[in-house]
Subunit: 119 residues, 2 copies
Amino acid sequence: MPSLLIIAHGSRRAASNDEVRALADAVRAQPGQAYDHVEAAFLELAEPGIPEGLTDLAAKGATDIVAFPYFLAAGTHVAQDIPEAIAEFAARHPGVRVRLAQHLGASAALPAAILGMAA
Amino acid sequence: MPSLLIIAHGSRRAASNDEVRALADAVRAQPGQAYDHVEAAFLELAEPGIPEGLTDLAAKGATDIVAFPYFLAAGTHVAQDIPEAIAEFAARHPGVRVRLAQHLGASAALPAAILGMAA
């Protein structure tokens, strides 16, 4: 089964980073979810970074990783920084496939999800 | 039926604000969605602001508005600024009920939604 890396921006507020880690825990705990491992990583300001997060998953045996940018807007971080970090990792780990998912704000599933959240 | 106001932070990047407006359009277009009106508003840096967004909905006849903070982290904006803006509106519009939903990042529906998005 694939593994999931939830990639957030990272914050100087420890509580914000802990929110992301708790989200990864909650995703991992969803009944019937189909990932071997679900972890959080951060573009900056918090640990683990993206390379470390990917490396940690590979060390656990992951060979197929879905990288999910937990970002609302398609700015430079989503368009450049995250793809570059993943490409660098992939170049050094040819045995690990990393698939970059659409960022949260662009997900086709978000409109329906918001209706469920706001209700 | 209630109306939905999706409240984003707002950005100096027009494209980011347009992403939020497109999201409101997509939510409005969901089959079977149960809101009379679905609009976007911004805490700062973009129009309409929160008071204007709420007033526009009231002008369309809305008397029951769900305000959904489109924010990932529970910082000052979510904890103070948005509730204050809503309270000020509510004080001036006693005939309009405004219900503040949990922000996106804290929604109990988010973990399951992420599994659908990342798949």
